[in-house]
Subunit: 196 residues, 2 copies
């Protein structure tokens, strides 16, 4: 039986393979990603990868869920607008810094080519929305926004304009874009526009 | 000299080729689009296409600008929120209706693979934002939102959540998503959040 304990051999192999998959995805993109290249990068025999993940698509689908295992925590600046701006700026940094942006861009792109990658991305964002929604809960507690404000929807509204410019309208993105979206969203939330 | 008059032979060829390019893009996606397939679909000799557009990428880059030549007009429902909701619902319809969605999805996807396609998409959205901004101008005239409200930014905010769910978080999209985004944006705009 495989040893799934943290630090066990099976788990070490899994982490090495998923990291290698993400590295390959950032380096080559989804269309050119192969099981063999991941195996070589991970230092794991290809038959192990085929047995456990089945295909390049299987590798990418699991690797894109990897973020849900990381201990990302939403910012806590003291105001809703500050928290939303910090999250937006984190996205701007991640998606526009050379050397950092290749993987996240390839992840968004992979979902156009693979339904399993798209499903993993969806699950990743469900997790991210849930973790981020604490900034809205704190804003309710502080009396900044009314009870019943839809946390995940506030997160979507505050970050969507960054993604929109990056991948739809293909316009330049900088911190000011994140700040404007945070301001607009916080104003609407304070006015009760996100109460469901 | 080529006859570029509307209805002239050169213009008829151009229209046939650009329509064929869009049809091919929707049918096969950018990665598998070939000049030969476009030539066959358009009933135009391939050497004409190579001479005039150079490559499949050149064809797609011009075809993606084709929308800027169409006479799309923003809705006029009598309220900013109504106009924004109508635009959002139009996007939902266009991007989620089987048989209609293949081309717009392939267009967004092509921009990940081709810098020229990305540049065309950018120019298309610049044009679309400018045409849409009239709904904000009318809202200013009606006194719904303060003077100085940034029209294109209102349009981005109202439509970005639809695109976000479609292509980033990969969540389901329906008219309610468009309506919520329109409501949130109209509330923020009325409060002056988009004044620059």
């Amino acid at each position: 039986m495989a040893d799934r304990r943290p630090g066990g051999r099976s788990e070490r192999v899994r982490l090495a393979v998923l990291h290698a998959t993400l590295d390959e995805l950032g380096a080559t993109g989804y269309a050119d990603l192969t099981v063999d290249a991941v195996a070589e990068r991970a230092g794991v025999h290809r038959t192990t990868l085929y047995r456990r993940w089945g295909s390049a698509e299987g590798l990418v689908a699991e690797a894109l869920l990897f973020g849900t295992e990381q201990d990302w925590v939403a910012p806590d600046t003291g105001t809703l607008e500050g928290d939303l701006a910090a999250m937006g700026r984190e996205l701007v940094h991640y998606f526009t810094t050379p050397g950092l942006s290749a993987l996240p861009i390839a992840s968004i792109s992979a979902a156009f080519q693979s339904p399993r990658a798209a499903e993993s991305l969806r699950r990743f964002y469900v997790d991210r929305h849930a973790r981020s929604a604490v900034v809205v809960e704190r804003a309710v507690e502080r009396g900044e926004v009314p009870p019943g404000t839809d946390g995940p929807e506030v997160i979507r509204a505050a970050t969507a304009p960054v993604f929109y410019r990056l991948f739809i309208s293909r316009e330049p993105v900088d911190d000011a874009v994140a700040d404007t979206a945070a301001h607009v969203t916080a104003v609407a939330a304070a006015a009760g526009a996100f109460v469901v």
